[in-house]
Amino acid sequence: MSVFSAILIGILMGTVFGFALEKSRVFEPGMIVGQMQLRNFIMLKVFLTAVAVGALVLAVMTSMGWASLHPKGALYVADVIGGLILGAGIALAGACPGTVLAQIGAGYRDALFVLAGGIAGATFYGYLDPVLAPLLKTWDAGKITFADSFGLPYWFLAVLLAVLIGVVLFILEKVSPWRVEMGADVDGDLAP
C-alpha cells in the first residue's frame, strides 16, 4: 500500500475515532481526572467496551485467517516504569496521547500545551533511546500472550475476556449509571 493511501485511511479512521471520543465525552479532563480519582467511570466503560469488541473482532479475524496478532513484547521493567510515568502524565494532563487531539478539536486551549510537551517528551526519549533501551530490556519475556502461557486458543480466551468485561460493565452500570456521570455540561464536572 502506498503512503498516500495509508494517510487517507488514517484520516478516515481517525475522524471516526475522534467523533466517537467526542460523543462519549471520554476525552474531557473531567472524565479522565474523575476516573483517576475514582469518582467517575466513563473512561473505564468506554475503554473496556472497546477492548471487548476488539477482542471479539480479532478472535473472528484470526480464526478465519484474515489477520494475525501483533502483540508487543513483554519488557516488564519498561512496562512498569513507563506505565507509571505515563499514568502520572495522563492524570496531570487530563488526557491520553490520543484524546488530547480530541480536546484540541473540541476547543480546549491547554491541550495545545499538552501536545507540545508530548512532542518534546517523545523526542527527548528518542535521543536517550541508545542509553535507555538496554536498561529497559533487562527483563524481556518476548511477545507472549495469556493464550501462549495458558496453552489455550486465542479465540477462546478472547471470547472469555469479552464475557467477563460484559459482566463487569453490567454491574458497574448498575452502581454508577453513565447519564449521571455526564454532569450538567456533559464534561464530567459533577460539582454542585
Partner: protein, 175 residues
C-alpha cells in the same frame, strides 16, 4: 437532545466503545497493525528535530520513526483525524468548550491560565516520555494490547492506572 444521533451531545459509553473497538478491523486488515497513537509523536518530533539536526545524530530510533512508511504516516494521519472528528462532532452538537475545563480551577487550587498551561506542557512531556519507555499508550497497550491478551501490555496498563490514580489522589485536589 434534539435531532439525530450525530447532533446529540453525548452517546452511551458502550455505543462509543463499540465504534472504537470496530476500528481494529481496518487497522489489522488494511494497515496490518493495531490501533495506537504515541509513536506518531516521535515521527513529528523527529521531523522537527531534522530541521537543526539533519541526520538525527544517526539515532536509529528517531530515523525509524521518521521514515516515510505507510505505518508511520498512517498513525500521524490517525491522530490528526481524531482532532478533525472531534471538531465535526462538536460543531454538529454545539457542545462548545471553554479554553480550560472548569475542573482545573478546583484540581489545581488556582484559576490562573498560565499555571494550567505550564502544568499541561510538563504533563504532556511526562505522558509521552513514559509512553515511549513503555512502547505504547492507552491505545497501543490499552485498547490493542489487552484485546490481544498481551501480557506485557496488561502489565503496562495496570502500571498506567496505578500511576494515574496515585497522582490524581495525591497531587491533584478533589474535583
Amino acid at each position: 437532545m434534539t435531532g439525530n444521533i450525530f447532533q446529540s451531545k453525548s452517546w452511551s459509553p458502550y455505543a462509543a466503545g463499540i465504534v472504537i473497538g470496530l476500528l481494529q478491523i481496518p487497522a489489522f486488515l488494511l494497515i496490518e497493525t493495531a490501533l495506537g497513537a504515541s509513536s506518531s509523536y516521535v515521527t513529528i518530533g523527529a521531523l522537527l528535530s531534522g530541521i537543526w539536526d539533519g541526520d538525527l545524530s544517526g539515532n536509529s530510533y528517531l530515523l525509524k520513526h521518521a521514515a516515510t512508511t505507510g505505518k508511520n504516516w498512517w498513525q500521524v494521519a490517525l491522530v490528526l483525524g481524531i482532532a478533525l472528528g472531534a471538531f465535526i462532532s462538536m460543531r454538529l452538537s454545539g457542545a462548545r468548550r471553554k479554553a480550560i475545563s472548569p475542573i482545573w480551577a478546583r484540581a489545581l487550587g488556582t484559576s490562573r491560565p498560565a499555571a494550567r498551561y505550564a502544568l499541561a506542557f510538563g504533563a504532556g512531556f511526562l505522558m509521552l516520555f513514559g509512553a515511549r519507555i513503555a512502547d505504547g499508550c492507552t491505545s497501543g497497550h490499552g485498547l490493542s494490547g489487552v484485546a490481544q491478551l498481551s501480557i506485557g501490555s496488561t502489565v503496562a496498563v495496570a502500571a498506567m492506572f496505578a500511576g494515574g490514580i496515585a497522582t490524581a489522589l495525591l497531587v491533584l485536589r478533589r474535583i
